[in-house]
Point group: C2
Chain length 191, copies 2
């Protein structure tokens, strides 16, 4: 009586397909750090409960929605005031950023990671300035044995491209990012 993880996890799994097919057209494809992945023309994001839909692709990355790892109650209350809205028609630009952190990061304890993440890098504090303009969703991949630790997805209006560049520019110079060993930045737009 085998219970295949693949089946059991369907209702929380999001899959990103990269290849010739997909509703998001690739505009820029950059390896920020670490081993690159194959450059593709298009990306498709398949949400939980639609996992029976498979797409012919060059690569497939999977991630799950999980519980919050760093935000405090106070921060969550603040964040919840502007919940992300994914799939809004006006947000025709998006970014798919798969990334991994070092072994060293994962061996840190929770208090050490939190200190770097927020007290030193102000990840939540600074990001929260972008809640209105940049819609985001984080998928966890490390615990399901994926190639990347996280898959980050952002959506925004074309006119906010430079605002998004500001945000990733800020994050990439933080103490936290010193632990990032692999990061691919794929910018797409909806056809």
């Amino acid at each position: 009586m085998e219970n295949l993880i693949e089946e059991r996890i369907k209702n929380k799994l999001t899959t990103f397909y990269g290849g010739r097919l997909g509703s998001w057209k690739v505009r820029e494809f950059n390896t920020i750090i670490g081993k690159p992945i194959k450059t593709v023309d298009r990306i498709e994001m398949i949400s939980p409960n639609q996992q029976n839909r498979k797409i012919d692709s060059d690569w497939t990355f999977k991630g799950i929605s999980s519980n919050l790892r760093y935000a405090t109650k106070k921060e969550k209350t603040m964040l919840d005031k502007t919940p992300p809205i994914i799939g809004k028609y006006e947000n025709s630009f998006a970014a798919f950023i798969p990334m991994s952190k070092s072994k060293e990061w994962w061996l840190l304890t929770q208090d050490e990671r939190r200190k770097i993440f927020e007290e030193k890098s102000k990840h939540i504090k600074i990001s929260s300035n972008y809640l209105e303009t940049i819609q985001r969703k984080l998928f966890h991949s490390r615990d399901i044995g994926e190639e990347f630790d996280f898959l980050a997805w952002f959506e925004f209006e074309p006119e906010n491209k430079s605002v998004f560049d500001d945000l990733v520019g800020y994050l990439r110079q933080t103490e936290e990012w010193k632990y990032v060993t692999r990061e691919i930045d794929i910018r797409v737009n909806r056809d």
Copy 2:
């Protein structure tokens, strides 16, 4: 090009089989809270990298080793002084305790969970008194879509059975355990 989670996760997956086969013979089988599982005669624990070995069974539960979630640097330093040793011949008694916590628990933020887990319930502080006698290993199952959130495995010498009873007795009356919605306590011994 499909990458099956089942395959990718093999090197961090531990599988528990319950049925007529297995090297651990069931001595006691108790549902502490929540829906029971089928009572079985024997249990087998299959470690990472041996996942090709399948066992005919009545049930199968899987879990992964993941990063620490609550211990601080100071606590980890203390815990690391007495690392758990699983598989010691003298530890012929064991307990397999699959458990789940409530939706409410998982919606709490990290600081709220930590406060309940340690500041109120002293999970690490009290458990650390048992490091010498009770060998333990925790497997995470929630993020891989399993029926239980965690699978806890303990090994000890037969003479320390009551010491182990003290430990679980303590934990079950803590604030943390108010969030436990399901817990099965299966005591076994090696043949």
